[in-house]
Amino acid sequence: MGLLGLSLLVLSACVSKETVPSQSSEFVANKEHKIESEELKILMRELNMVVYDRQKSELDRDDIRRRYALNLADVIKELAYKVENIPLNATEKVLDDQEKAVYTRYARELYMDGERIDIVAQKYELEKLDDAIAKTERTCERCHALFRDGK
């Protein structure tokens, strides 16, 4: 699946409103989460558009992709931090201890996904970028499946 396809999946995972399984508590997405989602959307699109930049050598394009990937990592880590620290009074229902533990685990996993993208970009290992982004997508989807508002 091309990078464009992966990016669209990430976008849909972070923006779409999925039905929450009935056995999970309802949880309202924080507004700031959506801000980061928009930033992610723009960064992913710009990553996909690098190939069309004129008058750039392939190493120049790698430099541009690396720059976008570093920004992407920053946004993901910031999103993970905010998600983990959403105050309880911002939610409609309070999570029980077990749900809180699962939720926190996903937030920290998202942070590690951002770290992974950061490391890949720092080392110029851009051939690994697709996989790193795909891993982030899976983390988003799993968390959304359990805690996303189903409106």
Binding site: G2, L3, L4, G5, I42, R45, N48, V51, Y52, D53, R54, Q55, K56, S57, E58, L59, D60, D62, D63, R67, L70, N71, K123, Y124, E125, E127
Partner: protein, 443 residues
Amino acid sequence: MRMSAPVFLPLLLLSLPLLSAQEQNELDALKAQAEALSQRIEAYASTRGNNRETDAMKEEKARGYIMDDAAGNNPPMEQKGILEMSSADTVLSVGGRIDMQSIVSWPEGPYIAGKIPLDASGENGQLLMSARDSRLWVKTRTPTEHGPVRTLIEVDFLGTTASEATANSHGLRLRHAYLQAAGWTIGQTNSAFNSYVTLDTIRYPLNYTLVRQPLIRYSINDRLFGYDLSFEQPESTLLDKNGTIIMPQDDIVPDVVARLRYYPAWGEGSLALLGRYITQDQATLSDGTVVSVSDGVFGWGVNVSGKIKLFELDDIRFDAQYGVGLGRYVAFNAFAAGSIDADGGIDLQATYGGHIGYRHWWTPKWRSTLAISYAATDNDMANIYAADSSRVNSEVYGSQLNLLWIPLPNGLVGLEYSKGVRLVESGDEGEIDMVSLLVRYDF
């Protein structure tokens, strides 16, 4: 009554039923099978005995190989289909572009500043189809203690032109050949003076800053800024009395470019400063005349380019250049850096230009750019023969409008209309209208 054994046994044997013919046949068949099986067993035993010796020899040989391997005496194992790299950690990547363009222009000619046909020489164009802008690149990345060493070689097929009547076997042309390591860029690649932000068009704008040349560049990058200091191949271009741009090839000082790149949230931008030493040493003019003295003059230039993001995904892109002695860095060498008089004295000239384009996204896959471009220079016509003034470009301007479609990731299909005008010092003017159809795929 009791019988004696000598009597009993014969009577017993006689009492046994005799074998029928069928049973005898079956017995004979079984005997034959047993005989054949026995022969096979003997034959197997015979060969096994021979192989037993070969296995022993093989075992001895294997033991010998092991000992030789341990001693490092064996040559490397040869295998087919292995790609050998100088380092086991090197990542090798191969890619390129398939680019097919179909062009119709009125009159026939390129959409390049200094080559737009003048009215007097133009004729109606023909359909031109070309895959020559297809590219192939090979890049490597090798981790080292100083960071990754990256290399790139990229070629296209805009080299020697072959006949279009038969095989269209156009020649390779070098685009890039350089390495990057620890901030250093060494080899042939884009000049640091080129506009960093470019228009999203099929044809280059008429003022385009496009120079690829050998250079040594050092760069420092952080999240918001990038800094480049580049020493690049010098090449002076001078307009002689016959209205011809000559290249004396007497340069001894590299062109120096300092560039600042900026990556804010609202877009990106660059500012490049160029310094050069334009020189000639008893140059030969286009009519064969050799000037008597040498001369050299310092020239300079500045280039600003940028992209400003607007609502949704739209953006505005622009660049602007100005300099004295800019010459070949602007408008594809349509203008000289200066002029050379009959005595060899150099007089640099001001050159300026710019372009601006608006890119609009109709849908996530369809987009358009509307752009205009302009470039001009202040030729010193005092040293030019009036009869040759039609050779001397003074001004160019143009416009472009396109519709581009992304049918699949890394693919592009586009249609573009371009109009260009070229003015020369004699007062003549040439125009070109061009329609380009592009199909491209980057792999």
